[in-house]
Every structure is written in structure tokens, then in C-alpha cells.
Symmetry: none
Subunit: 225 residues, 4 copies
DNA sequence: AATGAATGAGTCTTCATTCAT
DNA sequence: AATGAATGAAGACTCATTCAT
């Protein structure tokens, strides 16, 4: 009767599925706060007040559990970004909305951002990470390519740009949200602004209020380069 | 005779100092390739073909060793960036040279970049990382502030810009050097270009060959934003 | 309606009895192929595609199940040997037929032979094995005693001879049937021949075709002994 | 300085080598008395009053330790048999001496005989056993072949005979020495006698004191077969 | 300075068994 | 009769660290 959910090829009841996701989410929190290695299976089941066997009823191993967390998180982030740009047709708007969605998602899921960071640093998980990351990058790159083709932004390697956006998003989210107390929406603005203009490009103030695009950005710059 | 060097409050001979740094660098390699936790002290001494006592003669603990690696690496990166901009006086040039130095250093020390990534993800080491990172960020921010004050780049929060630069450098180095086979100098160019202009700013081609700054970057952009 | 069958003091329906013997025979296969200890109850019920409760509905414990397998197998072997000699009256013929039956049964039940071997090696089961084995041995010894009393074979401790037969049967079955691909009937001939004559006795060829029993077996032998 | 002994590729001091063989022999006893699986590593180190790590300092795993015990035992048995027949030149005498040596060795090492029995019953170890067993069998078969070629015993497959001898030795040793209190030398006589003559051949009394080989062994036999 | 030996708490994982449904 | 859930003791093995020599 119960709907099925894959877990060691087992058939889970609804109570079982509940338990499973309880473990999943509690483990996520612990991994994020203490680190993957320092968090033992005993910590997880202990924190949940259940027997040790429960863990292995639902998961094959600590490693598989972690990989599942990672996969789910990457899927969720991607879905969130997709949903956030679904209604937009203008490529530039889509890019911006995607960036904002990325920041918001990371602000909403600081544990997962941290887990990503760890996962990238260890071979066992790096492989799995690269797949999901590549998807995210190529999603973004695709939008950039469209914008370039449409002559909306200057021609540059869209994949490199996507990486740049990714890097800025990551770093500023960490600095101002995880380690600071920045407002996600404002941080998103900041990220968009930096991604769009770089440090030498138009400042927000300039772009914001001016249609006098003839205010040459920084004549100084072109001379010094 | 031998000059002295502190280690666990011990006085080392020159041979001792050699041993010590041998351990230091071998551990770095192992930590980077296998991860900090998965690398045991036994792995380290075993790989070096020495007894276990050696490790504890020179280091207080595995954790202290790692912290030392981290501190040394951050110091080295900072020194390298300083040296790279020492001869330059123009703030914009200094910023660029700093970015380039960052990319080159990371290309030269991929293990350390990876270690940084891990260290940030675990509380025990995150604290230590933040200090060094903050220094790097504030170094860059200072140069940006000077450039802004001099009217050379548009006014924006210099610290945020510095974070952005940091994020782009990290991400592109990882993508194109650690996980790819990009040429460090070219990647450095790419990073500089993206940091300077963002995705919507001037492309390299435009800035490079043109004095016609009147080529308005992207009129479309201002309309859509 | 259904006839009754005891199991854990329970009354089983015919379907229940079927389940029970299904478990019994599947467990036998697994125990034989993987070993008793390495085979878990989970392996058994998993392989059968049923829930864990089923096992404990029909059996008190893994150990009891194994003991039952052992007992059943020993009973079956004994019954098979009895049936095989039922029609024979000549003591020598009975002995030979018993040997042949032993080889055939073991060829037909290689898993059980293996289980016997394990069971003898572990105290928990050795006790149970000895009882059944003693029965087999004394069955054979009885026939040997009769043959000796009848002057049909030379006087020797019949129990020792029975053990000898048992050992030869076991070893040759294992070597040529379990681990080889010998034909059971031929192996049975071989076992009979070796049991009858030993290595220094008459060869099959000699006994087979000769009524010249005066062909003294090996005069050399008596000299060298 | 210390001589070397392979153990996880480690260099052992003489104290270390002592510890290693202490573990080896204590484990042998425990495995034999309680069974391989029921004996935990904790039991072994506990019984020796040392820390758990000691075990893994000297052995890679419980399984490797067991394999080493097995290998050593097989080697020892073989050496013992070789030494026991070294001075003999007559093939028949060599065979007999080999049988006797086998019985004596097993009487002296009942634990090892038991371990052999278990090892044969589990796939993990069966492979390793077969190698050593095959050597023993082919050693014996070679002597039998020589005796056959010399016309000293009737022509029969020497390998099959060797298996027969092996089976008889095993079974009678177990029955009369391990589970009984037979005198090893007498049991050896018994085994030799059974191996030589089978149940239908000359009894020892007959062969021993008689040159009247004309006492036709068992005229009855040839008639009944 | 350096070695091999030793420790023992702690890791992940398994498993026979019980139980509510 | 049968299921999935749960237990928790126990298993093999690891590892940072200490110590006698």
C-alpha cells in the first residue's frame, strides 16, 4: 500500500519514510556544524534518540547518506533557480534572477553551502560535486550565451563568466550572510552588481539613475591598462 | 653551532629543521590529496619511512601541524602578492598585479588551495582561516579604496569588491587550473578581465584595442535593468 | 482440515509447513555456500523475499534451525543407507551397498556434506554431530561384526574399520565429486575398492577377473613389513 | 640490528617477534577451542592482557592471521612427514612411516587438525587449504607410484590411494585421539593396518606372524563379489 | 633524535532478535 | 501469518598519542 521510496531497496511505510528524512535532515545539520568526519553515526542516532541499527536500516553507509544529501541539495538549488527564472524571458533578466536565486538559496541553506565546500575538498565527494556543479555552470552559461548572441552583453567565454558568477556568489554569501548578518536581498543586489560590472565597471548609482550612458565609465582605466 | 629554531619549545639543529620541514611538506601533500581526516599520522610517518616518535618530536599534534601549514601558506601567499606589486605605484596596476599574483600562487600551490577549502568548512580550522583571509581581503580592499578615492574606479564598497575578486580568483583557478589544464597566465588574464568588467562590462577586445571609449558598452543593458 | 505439524510448539497449516521447509532448504544452501556464521538471518529472509518476522515465526533461532538441518540430514543419510541395503542379506554385500549408498548420498547432497564438516569443527554443533555420527558408525560396525563372526572377513575391531570406511568415503567424495567432476558411481567403486583392499591389497583388476585367489597378493609386502 | 620477520612490512625487534608468535599461538588455541568466528579479536587480546592495537600492529586482520596459522601448520606437517621418512629408502616403508608421522603430528596438534576441518568448510579458507592439501596428497601419491612401478603394491590410481590414506588418518585420529584417549602409536598402527589392507585384507595378526601366505585371505570374499 | 611497542577510546558496521501493526 | 521498524550489544578495525629504550 505504502508508496515506495528507494532506500537500500527496501519498501518503506509512511512512518519509515518520515524517519528516513528525519535522519537525513538531522545529519545535514550535524555535518554542517561539526564537519562530516567529526560527526559520527553514533552522534547522529544519539542525537535522535534512536538505536544504532536504525541508521543502517535506512542508509547503506555514512558515505552514501552524505552523497544523498549532496545530490538532493544540488537538485534543490537547481530547481529553485529554475523556478525563479521561469516567468522571465529576457536573457539578462534571467541571468540576474538566477544570481539572486542562488544567493537567496544559499542564505536559506547555509548548512548546505558549507557541506558543498567540504565536499569539494575531499576526493571521495569531489567527483559527485563536480557533476552537479557542472550542471549549474552550464545552465548559467547557456543564458549568457543567449545574451551574447543577442548582442546584449559583450562577447566573452560564457562558461568562464558563469564560473565567475558562481565564485562571487559563493564568496559574498559566505562573507556577508554565513559569517555576517547581511540581508539576503541586499547581498543579492551586491552580487548582481559586482557580477555585472566588475570593480571597474559602472557603479550601481551610475547605472541606476542615469540614461546618460555617455558618462564614460572610467576613461582613466583604459589609459592605465 | 647550528642556528636555532623553535618547535615544541625545542631547539633544533639544522638537520632537525630539515626533518621538520620535510614532515611539513609531505603532510601538506597527503592532506591535500586524501583529505585532512583520512590522512593519519601513521600515513605521514609511514610515507616518510620514519618512526612514529619523529612526528611527535617535532609537532605537538596533528591539529597543530595542520594549523601551521595553514598559517604558513597564508603568510606565503600574502608575501607573494606583496612582492608582486612592490614595484608598482599606480593603484589600478597594483590591483591587477595582485589578482594575477593570486592566480599564479594558487596555480603553483594547488594543494594549499584545496587545504584552504577544507579548512574553511570545519569549525576547528575556520577560525584560523578567517584571520588570514581577512588580511588578504583588507589588503585588496585598501588598494581599491585608494583607487576609488583617486577617482580611478567608481565608488563601491571596497571590501565587497575585494570579496568578489577573491571569489572569482578561487573559482576560476579551481575550474581551469586544478581541474583543467589552463595556462596560469591566461587564466590570470581571464580573472582580471572578469573582475574588472563583470559580464556586462567591456569585453577585453573592446578595451584592448579601442580608444573609442564612446562605444557605449551596452545600451541594451541600461534599458533592461 | 490441514494436517498439523509442530514448530515452536505451533500448529501449522499445510501452507505453513511449506513455508517452513522452504526456509529450511534455502538456509541449507546458503549455509553451505557461504558458511554458517557468514550467513545472516537477514540473508536468508532477504533471499526468500520475505520479512524478518517469518523466520522467527517458524524457528526459535538461527542455531536451532541449523541443528534441525543437521539432524534431518543425518536422519536422511541413515534412512538412505538402510533402504539401500534392505534387500540384501549377505553381510559383505550389505557393507558394500552401504558404502555405495554413502557415496551416492553425499554426491547428491554436497551442501550437507559441507555442513557436516563445519558442524564438527565448532563445539556448539559438535555435540549434536557426534550422536548422529556414532549411529552411522555403529550401523556399519554391526555389519562388519557380523561378517567377522561369519568368518567372511578377517578379525579386526569393527568400529575402527567403520571409521576407516567413513574417512575414505568422506575424503574421496570431497576430492572427486565436490571439488572434481567424478561420476558418483565410479567414485563409489573406487571407495569400495580402497575400503576393501587398502593400498596393498588386491587391485580391482585382480579381484575382478580372477578366481585364482591363490595369486598371493604381494609377497614383497610381508617381507618388508 | 634486529633480524627481520615479515609482518605488515614492519621491522620487528626480538621482543616484537616474541609478541607476534605469542599472539599466533594463543589465537590458534582459541580458534580451535571456540571456533574461528566465535573467537573475537577482543577475546584474543583480552586473553593475552594486551591492548587491542597490539593485534593490528602485528597482523593485518583476523583473516590474515588465520591464513598464516593455516599455512604454517600445513608447512609444519609436511616438514614433519618429510623428516620422518628421510632415512628410509624402501618405498613401502616410506609410505608407512609417512602415515605414522601424519597420525603422530595430528595427535600432537589436535587444535590444528580441527582448524583444518573448519577451514575446509568455508570458502574464504578452502582455497588456501586446497593448495597445501594437494601438496600432501601428491607427496604421498608419488611414493605410492614408486611402489607400484616397483611391483611392490598392486596397480591402482596412486592419487586415489593417497586420498584414501588421508581420509582414514583424519577420521581415526579424530575418533580415537581427539575425541577418545587412544595412544597415538597404537592408533598409528591401526591406521597403517587399515590403509594397507582395507577391511577385507589380511589382518595384522595374519600378516605379522605368518609366512603362511597360503592362508588365502578371504576366499569367501571373491565369491561374494 | 629516533624507533618500535603499546594503548584504548572510538569508528563504522552487522546481526540475532523482538515487537507493534 | 507476515511485515517493516527498532534495538543494542558486539564485531573488526583505526588512530592520535605516549613511552621505554
Amino acid at each position: 500500500m505504502a508508496r515506495q521510496s528507494k532506500s537500500k531497496g527496501r519498501t518503506l511505510t509512511s512512518k519509515g519514510r518520515q524517519r528516513r528524512s528525519q535522519i537525513l535532515s538531522y545529519a545535514t545539520v550535524r555535518f554542517a556544524s561539526d564537519g562530516y568526519h567529526p560527526t559520527s553515526v553514533a552522534d547522529i542516532v544519539g542525537g535522535l534518540g534512536v538505536g544504532k541499527g536504525v541508521f543502517y536500516w535506512y542508509f547503506e553507509s555514512k558515505e552514501q547518506l552524505f552523497l544523498e544529501i549532496l545530490r538532493d541539495a544540488q537538485k534543490d538549488l537547481r530547481r529553485y533557480q529554475r523556478d525563479s527564472i521561469a516567468d522571465l524571458t529576457d536573457p539578462i533578466e534571467r541571468i540576474e534572477a538566477g544570481i539572486r536565486a542562488g544567493v537567496i538559496w544559499m542564505a536559506d541553506n547555509p548548512e548546505l553551502r558549507r557541506l558543498f565546500e567540504f565536499a569539494r575538498s575531499e576526493d571521495t565527494f569531489a567527483r559527485s560535486m563536480k557533476v552537479g556543479e557542472a550542471t549549474l555552470i552550464s545552465d548559467a552559461a547557456e543564458h549568457l550565451r543567449i545574451a551574447i548572441d543577442a548582442g546584449r552583453i559583450p562577447c566573452r567565454d560564457p562558461e568562464a563568466l558563469a564560473h565567475g558568477i558562481f565564485g562571487v556568489t559563493n564568496q559574498l554569501t559566505m562573507a556577508y550572510i554565513d559569517h555576517g548578518d547581511g540581508d539576503p536581498a541586499e547581498v543579492a543586489d551586491l552580487v548582481v552588481s559586482i557580477c555585472r560590472n566588475g570593480f571597474a565597471g559602472l557603479s550601481d548609482q551610475l547605472t541606476g539613475d542615469s540614461n546618460s550612458a555617455d558618462v564614460i565609465v572610467n576613461p582613466a582605466w583604459s589609459r592605465t591598462v
